[in-house]
Symmetry: C2
């Protein structure tokens, strides 16, 4: 494809694509004439990764260049590459145009209906989830968004634990106290546990076969 089509399919302006090439983030296309080049699917997927690292991972260009060099090394294990990325990216900041969020809000309603969840129409989690789904679909994370029901299965267990903890606290003020802690610190606890469990899963799936106490990710 020509650079115009690459731009259209990636939703990245031509001038930005050229900047990524000068900055060493995107390999040049195959020259078909002195001032025309041809691009293929690898350029498209690389561009989508760059946009995800910038927009979602909020990484500076210099860091992305380092990461991409490592990602391209065939001798580096996938487990190590994942560890480098997980240790580098910052938090999300999903903000989306209204149309995409509106479509995602219908997805959220579908999920709630399928599961029979009793959730109010103004629950803040609805908008947050719609924003995240829209951001995933825009940045090449359709396969993650498509796992929504499986994630909801796992999260139902978390929520049952949360409410079990609240229920055990007999007095109303203590229940509210527990809900405050569970909502705020509880989210961070789950995020931290998830990071550790991910590293373990990555070691199991992609890492060396024998168990080891050596640090295998993030020591880039």
């Amino acid at each position: 494809m020509r650079i115009a089509e690459l731009s259209r399919r990636s939703a990245v302006p031509v001038a930005t694509i050229k900047y990524y090439q000068r900055a060493g983030l995107l390999p040049p296309g195959e020259l078909t004439s002195p001032n025309q080049a041809r691009y293929d699917g690898r350029h498209l997927s690389r561009l989508r990764l760059i946009r995800a690292l910038i927009e979602v991972g909020r990484l500076p260009v210099a860091t992305i260049r380092e990461l991409l060099v490592e990602i391209d090394l065939p001798e580096v294990s996938t487990h190590h590459k994942l560890g480098r990325v997980l240790g580098t990216v910052a938090g999300p900041r999903p903000t989306e145009p209204d149309d995409a969020v509106a479509a995602a809000a219908r997805e959220v309603q579908g999920l709630i209906d399928r599961r029979g969840w009793r959730v109010g129409s103004g629950a803040p989690g609805r908008l947050l989830l719609a924003e995240v789904l829209a951001a995933l679909r825009r940045t090449g994370g359709d396969d993650i968004a498509d796992l929504l029901d499986e994630y909801a299965d796992a999260v139902e267990r978390l929520a049952a634990l949360d409410l079990e903890m609240v229920r055990r606290r007999a007095e109303p003020a203590a229940m509210v106290h527990g809900a405050v802690l569970g909502t705020t610190l509880g989210d961070t606890m789950v995020a931290a546990l998830r990071r550790l469990a991910q590293e373990n899963e990555s070691a199991r799936v992609f890492g060396a076969p024998e168990p080891s106490h050596e640090r295998v990710t993030g020591d880039g």
Copy 2:
């Protein structure tokens, strides 16, 4: 107990306790002489809740006063009270003195050993989890910290889903792309799903018996 003991057991300075009383957050003690009052366990648990709302929930005093008034109303359902709190509190910001974090880091190591997780000694999730556990133990959330293994059970399923998504992406750059999205947007997706599932659980456990599409929490 006297105010000095209340201060010692809650780790809240006497001057701060007096400020909370003037601000209407903490009921006065029972006067035993013109300038001495007696406090009981309800004052202690109320003080701990106030500290949790300020330090963990990061709420301003005026908001806390409104919340406490509602929490004290016997005719308001627990489901509604929980919804008000969940809709009001902000995110966490755990920072702890070194001793408490060091003790919590040993708890984290114990968890990793019990589960046989392969996690590097410098994994960022270790410190984050230790900080959260220390914050929970300091702010009256021991029962949540004690559920660590149950939460780890539920989170292992999440991590397996995360890695399954990465594994399905055949090409290394696409795997890394998936890990970026899963790590950042994925955490927010889980937090949003959890909020919705919590509301449903709260409706189930504490709410009206018949299913309803009416919003039952957070509509202050």
